[in-house]
Subunit: 158 residues, 2 copies
């Protein structure tokens, strides 16, 4: 939109200058060989005008292109229900899940309450809570149900 504004301004300037020159013609034409002088002046003037115009029009060209590249990292192939389940040990290791934590995870997925797990493993309820909390942190989840879902999806548990 502002492109047209510049063009209109430029047009007006041109018209004004033509009028000015027409008036100057009668005054300056008397002096011989003065034509070249003011043609040069016109040339310089309009060149500057062109430069100014170009500068105005090209200023907003400082583009910042933001390119978003999505890199898909790893794909875990699913298993068959009937076939033997192969735990994703690489994933377990990568998440830093300890042996005890994995044991608790299995029992959580089996539907046991923290109290029941504590009794089963001869541990205190506090210990189980610590384990589950660390587990949720490592699995990046908030609840045990989410932990079950994610662990199954990552083939950590069957």
């Amino acid at each position: 939109m502002f492109k047209f504004k510049h063009i209109i301004i430029y047009g007006c300037c041109l018209a004004l200058l033509l009028l000015l020159l027409q008036w100057a013609e009668y005054k300056l034409l008397i002096i011989d060989h003065a034509t070249e002088v003011y043609i040069t002046l016109i040339a310089i003037l309009f060149t500057m005008l062109g430069i100014w115009l170009a500068a105005k029009l090209m200023k907003p060209k400082t583009e910042i292109r933001t390119e978003t590249v999505v890199v898909e990292k790893e794909v875990y192939i699913s298993r068959s229900e009937n076939e033997s389940f192969i735990p994703n040990n690489g994933m377990i290791e990568r998440l830093g899940i300890s042996e005890r934590e994995l044991e608790v995870l299995h029992l959580v997925a089996a539907g046991y309450s923290n109290q029941e797990i504590a009794e089963k493993l001869f541990l205190s309820l506090h210990t189980i809570k610590t384990h589950t909390s660390r587990l949720f942190e490592k699995l990046d989840v908030k609840r045990r149900t989410q932990a079950i879902e994610k662990a199954k999806r990552l083939n950590i548990i069957a």
Copy 2:
């Protein structure tokens, strides 16, 4: 360095044009009121020259910063993707699980909290609690984790 090159080329063009105009002066000045016409032509020509010059000189100033944002995305294939899961409708019917209850069961298994399920289904928290309670009764379980385990075992959910 190439800045001067452009200036020299421009200067040469100007000189050449002045010579051309000086020659044309004798031919065209005879025609009355032709002065304005060729002054306009000069104006347009030099303006374009100015624009071209400016464009050439300002090219390196039109910065194009390309910010590349790399987003790493881990992709997992769920095991049910390849297999065709057939829900045990007979079992669902036998246990008397209603449509709504089944819907809630799916969301419970997906790891959503009661509050989240309520928001997702545009229901109150109370309603979800009622549904889950009935579900636990019908599945003969005490906790949601047990419900998930049993529902999966009975092929009610994938």
